[in-house]
Amino acid sequence: MAGPLDGIRVADFTWVWAGPTSTLQLAHMGAEVIRMESMRRPCVLRMLPPWLDGQIGLNRSGYFNQYNQGKRGITLNISSPEGRDIAKKLVAISDVAAENFAGGISDRLGLGYKDLSKVKSDLVMISMSGYGQTGPESGYVSYGPAQVPLSGMSQLTGYRELDQPMHVGMSYGDPNAGLHAAFAVIAALFHREKTGEGQYIDMSQWESTMAVMGDGFMEYAMNGSPPPRNGNRVDEMSPHGVFLCEGDDRWVSIACGSEEEWGALCNAMERPELTTDPRFATLADRKANEDALEALIMEWTIPRDPFEITKTLQAVGVAAFPPLVNRELADDPQLNARDFFVEKEHLEVGVRKHPGIPWKMSDTPCEVQRAAPVMGQDNDYVFGELLGMSSKQIADLVERQVIF
């Protein structure tokens, strides 16, 4: 048995980042995921950088190739009635259908749950629109970057020095929604296995992003105001920050969660007297004098290498680590020792390093089965082998831009 979802097939109507992240997890676990795309409207990610060597090309995007590892890819124009009929045939031999169009679009295309459950009665289907399928704003358009501000995360993240909401550096709403969606789909499959009953799941990316901001809502409910933007500081630890180091724009994160760790940090800095300094003796003292505390730590970090600091502090049990840049991640001894990265041969870009699967299973090992598909790479397999079309039929559909 490959992964635990070996034998499960997914008809994947998703695109951009959120939806493909959900089906990526299913592929990681051994499901056969068949990604439907079309030249009529190629996936946005194929048209975003980085492209290999900077040359634009639909099959050259590292962004697309990262989140579509392990999947099969076909080109099918679902805006044509014939294309939709073929999509339904694929759904009929699948266990799961996944989509992340704006709310209501799949129904309008005739590919909503009520249509698809007619061809596969125990189908598990998930929709992952930005706003969900009901409510006055359900038809609104949304992309992952917008989920960060929409959910409130932008307002709660930020520096004390700047009165501005923060983008957080990535379109966090997308992968977070995708991971929650994958969990939901497997839970529904589990239920189906026990009862024979499939079902529909309406997921709102907005709501799944708010689900991981529990503390902000709890604070508001308890005290009537949101938590302040507080840079890297937190109430329960001090120091807790990211400090400038030697070199060009180099930093290290340091956090002390106990008096013992604070003492160890002071010793490592060769400033043992700080533990009894009335400004820093207790957590409350350090919180009250945090500017001075951070300035003292920075004095120590600025002439030092962040990786040396990490080694020194970790040796005495203090949490420290530099904020890694992509190049450092690619070379990181830990990630490499655990074989986290995947290097599979891709038809156009060859072997590139991609982040792999963040869990390891001892009995049903999960493995990235193949590199991301180039456009239409698996047309013959899916239309011919799975759906039983003759090569003549396939050629005719290509000719008429149904397979397109």
């Binding site: 070996d6 358009v141 929650h180 589990f190 680590f321 690619a330 299973m361």
Partner: protein, 399 residues
Amino acid sequence: MANRALEGLTIVECGATGAASYASKLMADLGAEVIKVEPPEGDPQRALGPFPGGDPHPEKSGAFLYRNCNKLGVTLDLTSNSGQAILRKLLKDADALIHDFPPTDAAARGLTYDAIGGDFPNLVMTSITPFGQDGPYRDYKAYDLTTLSAGGWAWLNGWPGHPELPPLRAFGRQAEYQSGVNGALATMGALFGRLKTERGQHIDISAQECITAILEMTFAFWPYMETPTARWGQRPIQPVDFFQCKDGAWMFVLCVEEHQWTSLVEMMGTPEWTTWEVAANRLVRASNWDALRPFMEEWVAEQDSADLYRLAQEKRIPLAPASTISDLVNSEHLKERGFFLEVTYPEAGAIKQPGAPYQFQSTPWEIRSPAPTLGQHNQAVLSERLGEDLSSLKEAGVI
């Protein structure tokens, strides 16, 4: 027919951070029975705020309450032999064990797969740690900020043009949430696989890897173009930016597809922008963004945020406001979907909090009970189910 998706599953959860708590919460909310095992002095999460009035109280921790609804709560000192023996009695009837102790702490509690797998071959055991079960940094000390740094997210977060300000954490201990949702996902996958294999297994989850796996397109810039990630992430297209409106609210202006840009500049009353070479497409706009940005800033500064949002969405331009918490709890849309719900906690009282991240058509997501008070279910679980004598356990300091 079970009307909850995960009805019949029993999950034992123990740990030190929000990761294991969130993983088992996702399962509890779909109907699994979760038995949460806390040390006699309580889950360390109980010491984390927010607290009403800012006053710490173990039964009023927002961090704890939010992640622990729908669970049964028992106390056990897992560093003692008798505590571990009782845990093993609990595991007899459990389908999965989810914990987030770092390797050394886990070993001190008997929570290694070597110690557990042999006796419980059908159990799925999930270990969530900062760096995983092996490798040179396995025993590195880490808090959420550490993992966000090691995973590569902290580097991306900040405000362009302020290199003097450090790489930044995102709000709300997101490395815990991410390793938590991955924990739930992998556990669920293994439980599904077990229906066929009839065997349990061990799952090893690294929070660092959970973060590195979701860095959008930024990681790939190295293997594809040998370009190190810029601070503040890559911004290959524009507009993807914040602007302040007339009423002081912040609007996130985003155009992914060209037709959205065309509609936006029409709305701005400057359709000729579509003919400007410096704004020819999303990639070109990104390279010229410093020059283009002031024009848009000026226009947005004259708009009312609510009107702008509504009008843009009517034209299918994906703008979104930078919502405040108060905007969200008062949103008509979210009200109609019933997203927020009120949970009444024994000590902290009624709290309006986020509800379902997804709506299942046939098997509801639901909050059935508030988070347990410390040791609330010792009687029901330890005494009535396992036949333990609570008073002698208490005397021995095990509960």
